[in-house]
């Protein structure tokens, strides 16, 4: 039995327990992914909540549940981006700390976070899937529905942008 079959069978037997397992299994990765695209934790959670709600209301029987949830959540997230060109809020309020010494992780995070917001949502997603999830170009290509070559190009462009946006001291690694 595949993992999906196990989870769905459990869900059929006892929706409470099954749902709990499904959520425990997928909520964090889904939230993290949605946030990588949206740069907004609350919006990401809303999207994931909605994905689970659709699972319950549409009652799909996907071959793989993770994939199904992921696609629904991804579409919702990209929808937000498309419709609203949402301002990124991840690093809101942290700008004051901009001048702090670059030795701290916080500064690095701020600097990198700001640079990251310069990427397009699609670029952010590719970077996330590559760096965080360690997927291959092929896997990313299947996931986002673009050719593998394009994935490589998007990643390259994204890294270039990040390199250009980072402050020299961050990039040169003044830190220890």
């Amino acid at each position: 039995m595949s993992e999906t079959e196990v989870l769905l069978a459990e869900f059929d037997r006892d929706p409470e327990v099954g749902l709990s397992k499904i959520m425990d299994r997928f909520e964090k990765p889904l939230v993290r992914h949605a946030r990588a695209v949206l740069l907004d934790t609350e919006a990401a959670k809303d999207v994931v909540q909605e994905a689970f709600i659709r699972f319950l209301t549409e009652k799909p029987r996907p071959d793989n549940l993770g994939g199904w949830l992921y696609r629904v959540s991804r579409n919702l997230a990209l929808d937000i981006v498309r419709k609203e060109k949402r301002r990124m809020r991840l690093n809101e309020g942290l700008d004051e700390k901009h001048e702090a010494s670059p030795e701290t992780t916080a500064t690095l995070r701020v600097d990198l976070g700001r640079a990251y917001t310069k990427l397009s949502p699609e670029q952010r997603e590719v970077v996330f899937l590559k760096v965080q999830e360690g997927l291959s170009y092929k896997e990313i290509a299947d996931t986002i529905g673009k050719p593998a070559g394009t994935v490589g190009w998007m990643l390259h462009e994204a890294l270039k942008t990040l390199a250009a946006e980072l402050r020299p001291e961050t990039l040169l690694g003044v830190r220890s």
């Binding site: 959520m23 709600i53 990198l112 299947d142």
Partner: protein, 774 residues
């Protein structure tokens, strides 16, 4: 040196992330040996990749691996919302922590591996279309949501959810509509359950869990408990049941029977002997409520407000979009012999009426759950002359009267009208107000923040140098804007308010925490210490669990800082939560939809806003079974108090401010004649201070006070009835099922000309037109 191998640039990235084939890798390495510019590029790219792993920008603040990684979990509220759709009963511990989570808090590592699996699985499932799994629905299917505010009215904080991309049917659209679930109805329900004592609480809970249990009526009929309910909720229904068999047990001489002659007369009646125990009576009341709810559910398309048929859903969504309302169903008729007492907390809120007016003026029928009968009634002054005497022991002037029911022959309306003592503005206590103002993004919609500013300006203008004002705002986080400042510096206060701009998300918890902190700074014993919350909705960041908020508010109210909740705006307005907040905080709740309402609220009754003359005020009306066959309290469902708690001063009830009108109406079936004794007695009990002992007084309900015809009743009496009946229509009470609004319309038209009654008649006309159009 300029690089000539542009084609290799992207390949360098491929090599860095291990995606290049060996032949390409070789080429790149060879090139890098020659090209300093590309080596530099490679170093920078490698550095960026390293930094991304070190401080992933997609991680929330706190970063992966830190305890804050739990920010990646859905909130308790969100989880509950999802779980409720799976048929799970809410299971929140009193502390407000979700036990639903406990099953397996996956370790971070486990969940990281889970994402890998999820994504690999996703890849394998890629034969499925990558776009939305089901066909796109037209946006209109969402916009046609019944009773949803017009699209521009609402400010969706989560647009994708407001316009679901993959919707198959309107039913599915509805299920998606409550996009940003901030406070699950389950959570609110839990707090309610806590306020209902023991057995009854359970019964109520069951009522809600199975509101559609249609065979409840049979049980009720068999046991003869709520006879009047038998004939499909018709008022004129004949009694279809036999009274319960005498139990043989001697009647317990309850101490609550001692006080009035009404009851003495009743005690002589043999029927009294068979009166079930108090507990039983209450139980039947709750079951009747269940039955009543079942009736309401059956009203269907014939009802006034055609709500979507949600019976196919495991749990009805709370309301379209972000509007949260909560209904307890209409009170049932109670057989006097079963339970001669109606006990309830007094209420001076008027938000429901204002909110309804706003809906109707926009051409929409309000959601039935937003309609609270008592708030309709209390939006109109009763004609009771307030007691101005400073030495008077009573905080209330009371008038009890009645008239024949204008719409149902054989029934009467009884009214218990109370007017709180009016405090002279010169004698009012100093006010120390802390405004806690929502400046989240949604407050920009319809210039809600502008209305808040102008409303507060009105209030500040009426205050004087005795008073102080502090201001706290909250968006993404809370912030102090103005420390407690004497109203002598009016300009400084106004400048601070004027500078407010919408920003960020909605961290209510943060705002209230800061607000209470500031309120402590200006706290003065014996003064009116208040936190005035101005918001259009609810928390979406920070502690969004209502439990934590409510317990904080309760605690502060005990310390003497009351809460006043002012609701602004429509799009994502949380009626249920604001009402609850004000309740727990011993305060008032008002909905302000325009400057006119703000004026009415702040100017006409400043002392009524600031001066509490009675705390935990409750009423108990006890009917004489020899005179009243059955009775029904109109509204006050949310204010129900167990009969036995009437003299328990610790029970939370209503706070009544200076000059406020509070009116309760009963529909009763009279029986016997004046020879069988008085109709009943109304008792009022309240405290003058948070810790003082309860004061109680009573008024008998006598035949002389019952008018011969409805027309002869006072205008205020008639207005109260029309308002209550209107509310019953709007909330689809089964008691008005099948009745046309036209008859109510003509009653409204006969009311004496006054701006308020004209408005009421106008609203009834609008509602009649809207329900006809459906």
């Amino acid at each position: 040196m300029k690089c000539v191998r542009e084609d290799l640039k992207a390949r360098i990235t491929d090599v860095l992330v291990g995606e290049a084939q060996s032949s390409v890798r070789e080429q790149v390495f060879l090139h890098l040996e020659d090209c300093a510019s590309c080596r530099e590029d490679r170093d920078r790219m490698a550095k960026v990749l390293g930094l991304l792993k070190e401080a992933p920008p997609w991680a929330a603040e706190g970063g992966l691996g830190s305890p804050a990684a739990d920010v990646d979990r859905l909130s308790v509220i969100q989880r509950q919302r999802i779980e409720s759709l799976a048929g799970r009963r809410p299971s929140i511990s009193p502390a407000g922590k979700a036990s639903g989570h406990s099953i397996s808090w996956l370790a971070l590592a486990a969940s990281l591996s889970a994402v890998g699996i999820a994504l690999v699985l996703a890849r394998r499932g890629s034969q499925m279309p990558l776009e939305a799994p089901v066909p796109k629905a037209t946006v209109s299917s969402v916009n046609q949501l019944p009773q949803a505010p017009e699209a521009p009215v609402s400010f969706p904080k989560s647009p994708a959810l407001a316009e679901p991309q993959s919707v198959t049917t309107p039913a599915a659209a509805r299920s998606h509509a409550p996009a940003r679930v901030r406070v699950a109805p389950e959570a609110m329900r839990e707090f309610e359950r806590q306020t209902w004592p023991g057995e009854l609480g359970q019964a109520i809970e069951e009522t809600k869990a199975e509101p559609k249990k249609n065979d409840a009526g049979n049980e009720l009929r068999d046991e003869g408990r709520v006879a009047g309910m038998a004939a499909g909720g018709s008022l004129g229904a004949e009694v279809a049941a036999t009274p319960p068999a005498p139990s043989g047990a001697p009647p317990s001489k309850d101490e609550r029977l001692r006080t009035s002659e009404t009851v003495d007369a009743a005690a002589e009646s043999p029927a009294m002997e068979s009166r079930p125990s108090l507990g039983k009576s209450r139980e039947s009341y709750a079951e009747a409520a269940k039955r009543s709810q079942a009736e309401v559910d059956r009203v269907g398309p014939g009802g006034l407000v055609a709500e979507p048929d949600r019976r196919d859903q495991p749990e009805p969504p709370p309301a379209p979009r972000d509007m949260f309302f909560e209904s307890k169903g209409a009170n049932p008729f109670v057989v006097t012999e079963e339970d001669p007492q109606a006990t309830f907390g007094l209420d001076v809120d008027t938000a429901s009426y204002t909110l309804t007016r706003n809906y109707l003026n926009r051409g929409l029928l309000p959601p039935s759950a937003a309609v609270r009968v008592e708030e309709f009634i209390n939006s109109f002054p009763n004609n009771v002359a307030a007691d101005r005497g400073g030495d008077s022991p009573s905080a209330f002037a009371v008038r009890v009267d009645g008239a024949p029911h204008p719409l149902h022959a054989g029934f009467h309306i009884l009214r218990v009208a109370m007017k709180a003592r009016e405090v002279d503005p010169r004698e009012r206590k100093a006010a120390h107000l802390t405004f806690v103002i929502d400046v989240s993004g949604s407050m920009a919609a319809e210039n809600r923040l502008g209305l808040v500013k102008r409303s507060l300006a009105l209030l500040v203008d009426k205050l004087d140098e005795r008073d102080t004002i502090g201001v706290v705002v909250y968006g993404t986080t809370g912030r102090r804007v103005l420390p407690p400042t004497s109203v002598r510096n009016r300009d400084r206060i106004m400048a601070a308010i004027d500078r407010l701009r919408p920003e960020g998300s909605t961290n209510l918890q943060d705002g209230l925490d800061l607000g209470y902190e500031m309120a402590m700074e200006s706290f003065t014993r014996g003064a009116s210490n208040r936190v005035v919350l101005c918001t259009d909705g609810v928390a979406n960041t920070g502690e969004t669990e209502a439990g934590t908020l409510l317990s904080r508010i309760r605690r502060e109210a005990k310390r003497g800082i009351d809460m006043m909740a002012l609701g602004f705006g429509m799009g994502n307005y949380n009626d249920a939560l604001l009402q609850r907040l004000a309740d727990e905080g011993n305060g008032q709740y008002a909905y302000i939809d325009d400057l006119g309402e703000a004026r009415a609220f702040f100017l006409r009754r400043l002392t009524s806003v600031l001066e509490v003359v009675a705390r935990d005020a409750k009423a108990q009306v006890e009917f004489n079974p020899a005179r009243v066959e059955r009775y029904r309290l109109l509204g006050y469902e949310k204010r129900d108090i167990a009969d036995r708690d009437f003299r328990n001063d610790a029970v939370d009830a209503g706070e009544i401010n200076s000059g406020h009108s509070v009116t309760a109406l009963f529909e009763v079936k009279l029986t016997g004649g004046p020879g069988s004794g008085k109709i009943g007695v109304a008792r009022i009990r309240y405290k003058t201070g948070p810790r003082s002992e309860g004061v109680e007084f009573s008024r008998e309900i006598v035949d002389a006070a019952v008018a011969r015809s409805f027309d002869q009743a006072s205008p205020a009496f008639r207005t109260a009835f029309v308002a209550a009946r209107f509310a019953e229509h709007l909330r689809k009470s089964s008691w008005v099922n099948g009745e046309s609004l036209a008859s109510l319309q003509s009653l409204a038209d006969e009311l004496p000309e006054a701006p308020q009654t004209n408005e009421l008649a106008d609203l009834i006309r609008k509602a009649a037109r809207l329900s006809r159009d459906r």
